[in-house]
């Protein structure tokens, strides 16, 4: 299988050094883009690749770029969303710690395409050691003329900075990220206007995920058509998946879009731990609906196929659960996460996630009241589509899908049901 983004992973971090990066084909796309491409042609090439945003939403990258107005009184910005915090996801971590220049080169090319002279990498504060890796890499790029004034004699200027977050999941939402970067609480902004028009400091801004930006040099070098052909018709290229949970060999794996989920679990990850049976998979990070073992059999890992199965490809965080897992417990765990990470801005999400958790707590003690499962479902319904940003939906969807598909794990927590079960046993 073609390794596009992970071709330097086996060097275990040596590619953090700019010379190793260059010896292995690095910094060839940037000179090519500056010499052979007009900014618009870069955007066209990205459009041809059918690259879709790898952070979770899957929005076509070329289209996002084309929304940026050509003429702007305010400076334009490129922002790399390296606030990776979707439970189940650890791919951007490896992309940055093993191959930081790949992403940096992609960002400079994005800057050229959009006419932007400054970019920021917003990285989660916990990844402090990666922040230091990036700062060193950026300093090397400046020293060799890939950043700064008049890059490679092209007349194009670009500066790049690393900005640390401080432990807020919501800052992965692009408008909350921009608020945070401006030195405020991470509350999402009302859209429209979208960041492409009014973003950082009021200027047109493109916010892209680490993986998305890391793909860009490869598209310039090999062409958009080439990248697209690696995947499926509507989901171009390859994708990194972080597989975690009950598998023998968890890790980050790059596979072509459309790769069967079960092959990923059985081949790349060496199957389910201890030879146990698969029970469920959360295929795209904690925010997406859960899949049953039967549903997993038919799913291919591309946007359309996962959507057809009733879930989403999301960030590519694949959480595998075997027959020992209790879906009530796993869903409660995630509800705690969303309750903790709700920014508090809007009522449905702030109050809804707390209320959900309260019901979960009494059910955990096997003191659930009759109707509590329905109450959970209804509460999730009152959040879904009614919150200010997508965090509310992300909290609600896992609850509803878990109840629909693993109802017995919830029913067991209702006190009345327990009495019935005990009576039947007598």
């Amino acid at each position: 299988m073609t390794k596009v983004l992970t071709s330097r992973f086996h060097l275990k971090g040596q590619a953090c050094d700019i010379d190793v990066y260059k010896q292995t084909g690095g910094y060839q796309a940037l000179p090519k883009a500056l010499k052979e491409f007009k900014p618009d042609q870069v955007i066209d090439e990205v459009k041809k690749s059918v690259l879709r945003g790898r952070g979770g939403a899957g929005f076509p990258t070329g289209m996002k770029w084309s929304f940026v107005p050509k003429e702007s009184k305010r400076p334009k910005y490129v922002v790399c969303n390296a606030d990776e915090s979707e439970p189940g996801t650890g791919k951007d971590r490896d992309l940055m710690r093993y191959d930081p220049h790949q992403m940096i080169e992609g960002m400079i090319i994005a800057g050229y395409a959009l006419g932007s002279n400054a970019s920021y990498i917003y990285i989660r504060g916990e990844y402090w050691f990666i922040k230091e890796i990036l700062e060193k890499a950026i300093a090397q790029a400046y020293a060799q003329g890939y950043l700064g004034k008049n890059i490679l004699g092209s007349g194009f200027d670009h500066d790049m900075y690393v900005h640390p977050g401080a432990g807020a999941y919501i800052c992965g939402e692009e408008t909350a990220l921009l608020e945070s970067l401006e030195g405020k609480r991470g509350h999402p902004r009302l859209k429209p206007p979208f960041p492409a028009v009014v973003g950082l400091y009021g200027g047109p801004t493109v916010v892209n995920n680490v993986e998305t930006l890391a793909v860009v040099p490869h598209i310039i070098l090999n062409g958009g058509e080439w990248y697209k052909a690696l995947g499926t018709e509507k989901s171009g290229g390859t994708k990194l998946f972080t597989v975690s949970g009950h598998v023998n060999n968890p890790g980050n794996f790059e596979v072509p879009m459309g790769y069967p989920l079960m092959s990923l679990i059985n081949n790349e990850c060496g199957g389910i731990s201890g030879g146990r049976k698969l029970k469920a998979v959360i295929p795209g990070g904690s925010s997406v609906p859960i899949l049953t073992a039967e549903e997993c059999e038919k799913v291919n890992m591309d946007y359309e196929s996962v959507a057809a199965a009733g879930s989403m490809l999301g960030s590519g965080g694949v959480i595998v659960m075997d027959e020992t897992a209790d879906i009530f417990e796993s869903t409660m765990n995630l509800t705690h996460f969303y309750k903790h990470e709700s920014c508090g801005w809007c009522t449905p999400c702030r109050e809804g996630t707390r209320w959900l958790y309260k019901v979960f707590q009494r059910m955990k003690r096997y003191e659930g009241r009759s109707g509590d499962v329905e109450l959970l479902y209804d509460l999730a319904d009152k959040i879904l589509g009614k919150s200010f940003c997508a965090l509310g939906d992300a909290a609600a969807m896992p609850v509803q899908s878990a109840i629909k598909k693993f109802r017995e794990d919830f029913d067991r927590r209702i006190k009345h049901n327990l009495i019935q079960i005990a009576k039947a046993a007598d």
Binding site: P87, G88, G90, Y161, G183, G251, C343
Partner: protein, 154 residues
């Protein structure tokens, strides 16, 4: 006031942005590095340094979980509790540390050396269960491993 080295560092960081206020998160990290937590003086000083109001700095500090407004131990033991770690025994790791150090979640040992906290997803899901000590990651931790780790922290 920060040390001269940190003042210089902050001056440099401020040049990264068109508005000073953007440097508030980095400035708070500096404050925390110097004093172990963000003190009242830090909040006032950062406000003055970045042309912000005191309450604007305060509302930022209290929003982000990586800052503390009260003293914490020299070593912050942060156990990830989110799903991938939970599936592989995070709860057992947390309980083990509680018993070992005789403290509960969110508490600090009497000698001020360790603070134990439960945190949400640290991005090490494929390397679960995971524990972060201050900024250092420890992957695939076991109870034995945690014992050795804690004994090694002076």
């Amino acid at each position: 006031m920060f040390t001269q080295a940190n003042e210089t560092k902050l001056d440099e960081i401020i040049t990264h942005y068109p508005v000073k206020r953007s440097a508030v998160l980095p400035a708070l990290y500096i404050a925390q590095e110097e004093h172990g937590y963000v003190t009242d003086d830090d909040v006032r000083y950062i406000a003055q340094r970045l042309d912000m109001r005191v309450n604007e700095v305060e509302e930022v500090v209290t929003f982000y979980t990586m800052y503390s407004r009260k003293p914490v131990g020299k070593y912050k033991l942060q156990v990830c509790r989110t799903l991938s770690c939970a599936l592989l025994g995070a709860e057992k790791i947390a309980e083990h540390i509680e018993h070992k150090l005789h403290i509960g979640m969110g508490e600090t040992t009497i000698d001020g050396k360790f603070t134990l906290t439960e945190v949400e997803c640290l991005g090490y899901c494929d390397l679960a269960p995971c524990l972060q000590v201050n900024f250092d990651y420890h992957e695939k931790v076991t109870t034995d491993g945690v014992d050795k780790l804690i004994e090694g922290l002076k």
